[in-house]
Symmetry: C2
Subunit: 508 residues, 2 copies
């Protein structure tokens, strides 16, 4: 008989729900091969059918909104309103992909008709579109039990691309995961599609990661989590007989640079907003500002005084699981003995996986010697770094790749050098705002240079779909043997680029 | 003093040109850091300026057309008319990228304006475009001394993207490389741009590969060559402190499936055309048909008779260098002793690096047990595989990833299962044609599943540019601090997607 495990309520330590059976290797491999066998059932759906499937999944999840938020709240201790919002973000993501897929835009059809006069040699008829990769393995994150989990961004993007998905459910919220799984498969079946197109794997056994990454039928991996596991997946993927892409999002410091002028204009607002962003979701956001750079002048002193006052009153919800809480306490202990570091603590929360928010203050001259201070620490902490304004660019040049980088500046400040440097390392550069909260839109980019991400792609927003497709070109094919999106009659009535001109017309 | 090496004429074995100085480590690293220092000079050019630079490079190369073809002919023994054509393909590639870059299309600007009513939460102003990665290392191929070499497809794509390039010149054609280098840098300087934006590294020392792949300033690698070196580059890139993408094209069998009906309709034409494609450029094309699948019936017997007659009259030009010739002879020797294999030989060419064309014939039942027969062998050879027509799909399922896969079928044959299977493994599927000759167009895809390519991207055609850019999004930025392509006034007058609508208008 299989082993079992149980979810815990971080606020009380009590167990949540029934015992969950741990999947063994044969079950995991069967889920993968079963998905592979039926993959054409999804890949061959036409744009409006696939959009309709995505919308049905969204509807099925939305119909469980209150139930999902309630169970996720028990399993994560994240606040109920935030979880209701997260259900809606999950639903909105699926619908955004449905909107894209319905237009056929994701197929990117490009047609170059035969041209005997093309130079330097005659051109055959060439018709290219994007085709789904095949079965995708998604590793769910702990910190967004819905939007980055079972039916989160990676899953929505892969399904939208036409790929079956096997999700490694996060063991911190197995009951939430099961409920989402049921919603997704119910929606698939309502369209006459096999439920094998979608599975979740439950378990705490680290071998599951290896089984998924090594299975020959897996064609790509979507991952959000620690750098340790992200790098393991990259290694496993590269060692396969057929290496596959790993889209890993592995954490980020999300530096926030505050200029003296910005402090002069809005110091009260900034101190509070910076702390609110750092402590949001108990500091368990991938876009949490992990370092905040402020001037080492009297305005900087005043900023710190305000932070001290504010933090001393702050208490955060318990962390998501015992592992995160343990690692957080260990990191704080280690940081606390760093050279020349001042610690400001909030209110202790000793319930369940509770921790105390801790903000550190350091001078840049000391930080640059201690690499710990430039590492991500998951949980309610941030390092405030004091530097002369004329050294901000130097600080920026010392940083590794980031998901986001933020500048708070005065209205007429020109910071082109700093902006240029930050745009070299970060996927999103923010002006007079904070990095937490990520809109799901076409223009979004959630991904940054290594080690924030393993590739130059986004995991949020509709461009995420292009991670799970590959181009195939057909040369001189008889019309009826082409994929429909490339046929002369343009049966999907979608926009295509024909001889370099964008058109939704058929080809005569 | 540096070591030197000299090019050889494959047709005569005589040395070509002066001694070439071998680059040492400090010279290689200096080329890279110098390129890194000036990278903004290229990345900040506006679309029309950059297009103009690319056109000037094309013009400079075209003006040396006869000279280049003459020197390349001495260094490679490839026929002069083919080399003149290859100069023109190189020129056409550069001009195609210029045409794209001039429209600003490669910037893919997407703008989502702030929307307080956006659900589930208000949306900030988000503006995304594609930005160049930084210095790119390109490893030139031996078999296309112009179109896949110093200013070939990878270099043209990287420069078009706004990336400086350091090329590892192929030691088989150093004088051709030097001449192209001079044309490129002359063109850069004519636009007031520093020549450090472009360098070639000369040498036969295998350490050069390591120096280039490990240099921290290198942001991506473009490679065309053997699987051994491709896999080495992938490993080196992954072991860096900051891993980088490697776009490696590592060879392909390019299977050609000929149905009984096709043989019935055009057997004479097919036997000759298949052999012409296999022997083109002395069989040194990455799209050479390495296996040809024919029926094991009387039509198949007749096809083989025709191949025998034709091949016995064929002689090919010497191979590109001694290493290729030695490896070819070794492979043929090994293949010749394979079980149940028949060998048809052409006319021996013992001059310089000359070889004899060899075509093998085998039954599928024997092939499937001998993996050598399903490996690429660079040079004038191909394996004709005989199989019952109802096993063609089985053969297709045994194949690894391919650049191309070809079907010769009768006019009304429906082969959707075979087409579907081949489109899963190949980047280009060809109907009633041959894979050699690759058009440089928007719809082209030159890349296939592993091990043909290391990524799902193309190295030929204008989509190759997207390998060397990454998305960056700006959130709530003051208009004048945005990159020009994202500013309200749309100073480049380019097409952008604004709130999901494609437009070249400014934002009011």
């Amino acid at each position: 008989m299989n082993k079992t495990f149980t979810a815990s309520n971080p606020a009380t330590g009590e167990s949540v729900g029934a015992e969950i059976a741990e999947w063994d290797q044969s079950q995991v491999l069967k889920a993968i091969t079963s998905a592979h066998k039926v993959k054409d059932k999804l890949s061959k759906t036409n744009p409006s059918e696939r959009a309709s499937v995505l919308n049905s999944i969204a509807d099925a999840i939305e119909s469980e909104k209150d139930n999902l938020a309630k169970i996720a709240n028990l399993e994560t201790a994240l606040p109920l309103p935030r979880l209701v919002g997260e259900v809606m973000r999950t639903v909105v993501q699926l619908r955004a992909f449905a909107t894209l897929v319905k237009t056929g835009g994701h197929l990117l059809p490009i047609i170059d008709l035969a041209d005997p006069n093309f130079l330097p040699v005659a051109r055959p008829d060439l018709r290219k579109s994007q085709q789904p990769l095949g079965v995708v393995a998604v590793f769910a994150a702990s910190n967004f039990p819905l939007a980055f989990s079972v039916a989160g961004g990676d899953t929505a993007a892969a399904l939208a691309a036409g790929c079956p998905v096997v999700v490694k459910a996060h063991p911190s919220h197995p009951n939430t995961s099961q409920l989402v799984y049921e919603a997704v498969t119910k929606a698939l079946e309502s369209h006459g599609l096999p439920k094998d197109l979608f599975s979740i794997v439950q378990g705490v056994n680290p071998e599951i990661t290896h089984w998924l990454a090594k299975a020959p039928e897996i064609t790509a991996i979507g991952f959000t989590g620690s750098a340790v596991v992200g790098k393991l997946l990259l290694r496993l993927a590269q060692e396969r007989a057929t290496p596959i892409p790993v889209y890993a999002e592995m954490g980020s410091l999300n530096p926030v640079f505050i200029t003296p002028t910005a402090l002069g204009e809005k110091i009260d607002e900034l101190a509070k907003a910076a702390m609110d962003s750092a402590l949001l979701g108990s500091g368990q956001f991938c876009t949490k500002p992990g370092i905040i750079i402020i001037p080492n002048d009297s305005l900087g002193d005043k900023f710190i005084e305000q932070v001290k006052t504010y933090i001393s009153q702050q208490k955060v919800a318990p962390l998501l699981n015992k592992g995160i809480a343990d690692r957080f306490r260990e990191a704080i202990k280690k940081l606390s003995i760093s050279k020349g570091l001042e610690v400001i603590s909030g209110i202790s929360n000793s319930d369940g996986y509770g921790v105390t928010p801790n903000i550190f203050i350091a001078n840049w001259s000391e930080v640059s010697q201690q690499s710990d201070l430039l590492e991500e620490h998951f949980g309610p902490t941030s390092v405030i770094i004091r530097a002369p304004f004329d050294q901000y660019l130097t600080v920026a040049k010392e940083l590794e790749g980031q998901l986001t980088a933020t500048i708070h500046a005065g209205k007429n400040e020109d910071l082109s050098e700093l902006i240029n440097q930050l745009s070299q390392i970060a996927g999103r550069v923010i002006w007079n705002g904070f990095p937490t909260a990520v809109s799901v839109t076409a223009a979004q980019n959630h991904g940054g240079q290594w080690p924030a991400s393993s590739t130059h792609t986004t995991s949020v927003g509709i461009d995420a779909i292009y991670r799970f497709v590959r181009p195939v070109v057909y040369q001189n094919f008889p019309d009826h043997q082409l994929p429909p999106e490339l046929q002369n009659s343009n049966p999907f009535k979608i926009e295509r680029v024909v001889n370099s001109v964008r058109t939704d017309q058929s080809i005569q």
